[in-house]
């Protein structure tokens, strides 16, 4: 009877929601990024420390719904030790997955694959994307800045996220 509901709120999702990874604050941040889901106003903030071009540690603080919290938690778990390229690639995969597009091979996604059920709930897709888009924006700003010169940039608007789901 509640197949669709259980499809979205899978056990893996609820587990991440109840005990979100990446909760621990970190004292130094190479990247800081905040994002807001414009459709509900919920917010996420993250700090990332880097180690030779890969993510060393991450803190994710999310005040949103179960999906956004779970997605942020999965992100925290996943990205540690990954390069920017790997992070960007998986963010693209998450986006595609949520749009209902064919995705290449979901084995390496691990828990993240459980976000699939969200695509049945169009208004919640932004929830699942929030963390990913915020991190990508943080990375992109970091990269721009590295070219331009040092100074931390924080962002608040998720235009790409809008573009991805606002149709």
């Amino acid at each position: 009877m509640n197949d669709i509901l259980d499809e979205m709120y899978r056990d893996i999702i609820l587990d991440h929601y109840r005990s979100p990874r990446g909760k621990k604050l970190i004292d130094h941040a190479d990247i800081s990024s905040t994002g807001q889901n414009p459709s509900c106003g919920d917010e996420i903030a993250m700090q990332v420390t880097l180690d030779d071009g890969t993510v060393k540690d991450i803190h994710v603080g999310c005040t949103g719904c179960a999906i956004s919290v779970a997605s942020g938690s999965m992100l925290a778990e996943f990205v540690k030790g990954k390069s920017f390229e790997e992070v960007k690639k998986v963010a693209e995969v998450v986006k595609k997955m949520l749009k209902g597009e064919e995705i290449p091979d979901s084995d390496e996604l691990g828990d993240i694959d459980a976000l699939k059920g969200v695509r049945q709930f169009p208004v919640r897709i932004k929830c699942a994307l929030l963390a990913w888009m915020t991190l990508i924006e943080g990375i992109q700003n970091f990269e721009k800045q590295k070219k331009a010169g040092p100074e931390t940039v924080t962002t608040t608007e998720e235009d790409e996220q809008n573009a991805a789901t606002d149709q």
Binding site: M8, C40, G41, C65, A66
Partner: protein, 427 residues
């Protein structure tokens, strides 16, 4: 050239000589309520967003398109005259519905939002200047907020706000310093779509007029749920939407005093609203036509008449009594739940049936998704009232909103489901 029949169908609640408020009979008039949603009986608690429609309104649309449809006003053929008569009949009906004003004072728009924009652009464009003050309240819907903020930006005017008491009523302690001779307009929601609060429009109207200002009341939530007499309220502008009061989507009403309408420039321009046009100059038609450029939502307006008839057949007094009783029952039931907080006044005589609440553990969006899986439709979010949310210190609330077809069983279903939600999420 007879009018579309409209008296041959009475709401079922009067089916067998009974004059009481029998929700089951009313429910039977709303075909959508017969359906199952996610395997459950549909419990529709989102009427503040848009109400459901009785069969009489649905049939009126069918009848209009199957028997009458034509463009109005300039036609010289039978269908066009019938369509015009039916359209104008709703204008007269709307005028009666809000206390017996002149039909020429009723302007049809495509919604309350457009009605307020019309006033902001046309009246505001002409009457608001640098340094003038527009007073709104902290609980306004964006429809009665954004047009004034934008107008103020454009005119270098100032938007002032009446703050709230902790229980979500207007805090009038300092009102004499808010509404002053600098005030040009007070724009206030008659009933809040978030808190349910019924605002003291009459008192604010007196205060506005004492200061030489005009007052607009946004009746989008009040007109569906309580008797409204705009003259008694003493307002200058009143606006509402058909779709929230059993009528079709795409129909709104602006009422304003005739002198005001006559002095205001048109909003949209085009066909059916001019007297004479050349490439250099235009003279306008009389009100109300001056404000109804182009082909309006004829079918929607025609069917709105049936919605008004349906509400009147129940009786707006009875509808208000039902709202008070059911809102009281809902508030009592919800407050029995642990860790649940209701925004807005708890006394049902001070408010309508839009009940916002937050659960300490469950995000409103998760709650509403869960409830939906049980067939219960509520809304979650900022309800187009971001400044109010900020004042409440919430990002979002859940909102259950009641109407004539809701009963205690619907509330019980809501409360039961909320009881289950914590165990579902395991928090």
């Amino acid at each position: 050239m007879s009018m579309p029949s409209d008296t041959d169908r009475k709401p079922a609640l009067f089916g067998s000589g009974d004059t009481g408020f029998d929700v089951n009979r009313i429910k039977a008039d709303f075909p959508i309520l017969r359906q199952k949603v996610n395997g459950h009986r549909l419990v529709y608690l989102d009427s503040a967003a848009s109400s459901q429609k009785p069969q009489a309104v649905i049939d009126a649309l069918d009848r209009y398109y199957s028997q009458i449809n034509a463009n109005i006003h300039r036609g010289l053929h039978t269908l066009s005259e019938k369509a015009t008569a039916a359209y104008e009949n709703t204008r007269e009906h709307s005028a009666r519905f809000i206390g017996g004003v002149k039909p020429e004072e009723i302007i049809f728009t495509n919604g309350a939002t457009e009605a307020i924009n019309l006033v902001a652009s046309s009246w505001g464009g002409q009457n608001i200047g640098e340094g003038d003050e527009i007073v709104i309240t902290e609980m306004e819907h964006h429809a009665n907020l954004v047009p004034w903020v934008i107008l103020a930006q454009r005119k270098k005017a100032v938007v002032k706000r009446i703050p709230l008491t902790p229980d979500g009523q207007l805090d009038l302690t300092d009102i004499e310093n808010i509404v002053t001779p600098r005030t040009k307009l007070v724009a206030v929601g008659h009933m809040s779509n978030v808190l349910g609060t019924i605002n003291p429009v009459q008192r604010l109207a007196e205060l506005a007029h004492k200061n030489g200002a005009l007052i607009l009341a946004d009746g989008a939530q009040a007109a569906p749920h309580m008797p409204v007499d705009v003259k008694q309220l003493g307002v200058d502008f009143y606006t509402f939407s058909a779709h929230k009061m059993l009528g079709p989507t795409g129909v709104g009403v602006l009422w304003a005093r005739q002198e005001l309408l006559e002095a205001m420039p048109p909003y949209n321009t085009g066909g059916e609203m001019i007297r004479e046009v050349s490439f250099e100059t235009v003279t306008w038609a009389d009100v109300p036509h001056k404000f109804e450029a182009g082909t309006p939502n004829i079918a929607g307006v025609v069917a709105f008449h049936e919605a008004l008839s349906y509400l009147e057949a129940i009786g707006m007094d009875k509808i208000r009594e039902h709202a008070i009783a059911l809102t009281g029952y809902a508030i009592d039931s919800l407050l029995k739940l642990d860790r649940l907080e209701i925004q807005g006044p708890l006394d049902p005589t001070l408010r309508g049936g839009a009940i916002s609440f937050t659960d300490a553990d469950i995000h409103p969006h998760d709650l509403s998704t869960f409830l939906d899986s049980r067939g219960i439709a509520i809304r979650a979010g900022h309800h187009c009232a971001q400044p109010l949310m900020r004042a409440l210190g919430k990002v979002a609330t859940a909102r259950a909103s009641l109407y004539v077809y809701n009963d205690e069983a619907d509330i019980d279903a809501l409360v039961d489901a909320i009881k289950q939600v914590r165990s579902y999420f395991g928090v």
